[in-house]
């Protein structure tokens, strides 16, 4: 069957709603099984959508996006896979076969959207310096645009131009770019951490930085364990500074002042 224009528009809007939901209310949580079912409803074949979505769901079990890491975008994959499974008449497996490379390719747009929002964050910072609340609010909401477009644009293009362009894009994307971007996706959180280290009085607390690193890197302590360790040390430090003599208290109040200077980071 041929896909209708209203279906293309409905699917494009669906992809935007799903990504925005996954960022906020999270009732569909960006999961491929829901994307498949909803795309199936629009395409008039829920059974195919459910089957494509369910298979993709099994592939992403336990895979989460933490600290800004990107994972294969099987939300977009499920929508595209469902549509072409229905329109080509070639069934569920064909749809899944298409959904996987699409999901792998689309992870690059997820990276791009997260990168584009640096721009709006900068504008928010500039607006803060002017104390311009209207601009602050406007630029925060504009952050939705890269997110929405990162799903809506590829879906719209792929549905309009059909599966040839899908296959062409997937096989022609140069490896240096896809591979390099995935390396960047792994390294970029380092920028956030480095900024945080500039912001915290890290020189004063260098031992604790090393302890946290040691526990995670050498002992493979999970984050909750790190937190328990940190809380334990924090309680000791808190008690000591309360029970300590006046000199200790004075030194401690000096700490936060000095820490501010150490941690000051001008962008």
């Amino acid at each position: 069957m041929e896909i209708q224009m209203w279906q293309i528009i409905a699917l494009t809007i669906l992809s935007m709603i799903l990504i925005w939901d996954s960022l906020s209310t999270a009732v569909f949580d960006g999961k491929p099984i829901f994307a498949g079912i909803l795309a199936g409803v629009i395409m008039g074949d829920v059974a195919v959508g459910l089957a494509v979505g369910a298979t993709l769901q099994l592939m992403v079990l336990g895979v989460g996006t933490y600290g800004g890491s990107s994972m294969p975008d099987y939300l977009t994959g499920a929508i595209i896979g469902t549509v072409f499974a229905v329109t080509s008449g070639q069934g569920v497996d064909f749809g899944i076969g298409l959904a996987v490379p699409v999901g792998l390719l689309m992870v690059n747009l997820d990276v791009l959207a997260r990168f584009c929002n640096v721009f709006f964050a900068k504008r928010v910072e500039a607006a803060i310096e002017r104390l311009d609340y209207a601009a602050i609010k406007r630029n925060i909401w504009l952050g939705l645009v890269p997110w929405g477009l990162s799903r809506a644009l590829p879906i719209f293009i792929m549905l309009v131009f059909g599966e040839d362009i899908v296959n062409g894009l997937v096989s022609n994307m140069p490896e240096w770019l896809t591979g390099g971007l995935s390396v960047a996706g792994g390294l970029l959180p380092a920028v956030g951490i480095a900024i945080l280290l500039r912001y915290l009085p890290v020189k004063k607390y260098i031992s604790y930085l090393l302890i946290g690193f040691f526990a995670a890197a050498y002992l493979a302590v999970p984050m909750v364990g790190i937190a328990i360790l940190g809380v334990a040390m924090a309680v000791i430090a808190f008690r000591q500074s309360l029970n300590g003599n006046q000199a200790v208290v004075a030194a401690n109040s000096g700490v936060s002042q000095e820490g501010l200077l150490d941690g000051e980071y001008e962008d």
Binding site: L23, K137, L188, V191, I226, M233
Partner: protein, 270 residues
């Protein structure tokens, strides 16, 4: 009046409800590599900042404070917003340093619990059921999962309120101990950041070295020196870069992207 509460403006239940909802809707809409959820945090706190601080310079400084790097599980962030609101309500502007420490100290632990619970446990359990039943042609599993997610959303609307009430108690009892608390919270925060270096930054070394018949994997050699050596080096490098004049975080991000592509092309990272 000096030893009285520094901030006479009181937050209402409505303020706190709005704080929770704003966090849910806003926490990730301006997610970006530099500040992660910081802009969303700012969005959640905006009305409270305007209500608590009348002096424009104080407002500006608190806005700057809340746009610093922040990242936690979206499901758990409401607690932190609530605790923060309680702290700022009671202590006012002089709590600025405490708030910084609290936020960085709490985001890791909350993310540790939240990511496990909402990022791994729930999706794995209900996702398995929904996917299994879906492959059998039944939507029942998917509907159950949807209902669970709606229940989680309802739970999330209460988190800011819980954080606010419990936070008030903590802050009121430790009122005179603000400096000690700041130091303790900062210590916790720094410990967590130390662990973040080892867990959040990913670098897979693909380079291999040939010595006669023997091929040695570059990652294995590095691991023998120190685990997470590359992440540490990258963080240290960017930390050093940021201390230089004219270097901005945006330039650092672009540099990392270019370096990533180059290192991948020459076969060092993959």
């Amino acid at each position: 009046m000096e030893n009285m509460k520094t901030n006479e403006t009181r937050l209402t239940k409505k303020d706190i409800n709005s704080l929770g909802k704003r966090w849910i809707m806003g926490s990730q809409i301006t997610w970006n590599y530099e500040k992660q959820m910081a802009v969303g945090y700012l969005w959640a706190m905006l009305p409270i900042i305007r209500k608590l601080y009348k002096d424009p310079e104080e407002q500006k400084e608190m806005l700057r404070t809340h746009i610093q790097f922040f990242n936690t599980t979206p499901h758990m962030g409401g607690f932190i917003c609530g605790i923060d609101a309680a702290t700022e309500e009671h202590e006012g502007y002089k709590a600025k340093e405490t708030v910084k420490g609290l936020k960085t100290g709490l985001m890791g632990p909350f993310a540790g619990v939240g990511d496990t619970l909402f990022g791994v446990l729930f999706p794995t359990i209900f996702g398995s059921i929904a996917a299994y039943m879906g492959q059998e042609g039944s939507m029942v599993g998917a509907i159950i999962w949807l209902l669970v997610n709606i229940a989680i959303l309802i739970f999330r609307t209460f988190t800011a309120g819980i954080g606010y009430r419990e936070g008030s108690k903590i802050i009121t009892s430790a009122k005179d101990k603000l400096d000690a608390l700041t130091a303790a919270a900062t210590l916790l925060g720094v410990t967590v950041v130390g662990a973040l270096v080892a867990t959040v930054v990913r670098a897979n070394v693909t380079a291999t070295f040939k010595s006669g018949e023997i091929t040695v994997n570059g990652q294995d050699i590095l691991n023998q020196i120190m685990p997470c050596l590359v992440p540490v080096a990258v963080v240290a490098f960017i930390y050093w870069l940021l201390g230089r004049k004219k270097m901005t975080s945006t330039k650092a991000i672009i540099l990392v992207m270019v370096l990533s592509i180059l290192l991948h092309v020459v076969g060092i990272l993959g």
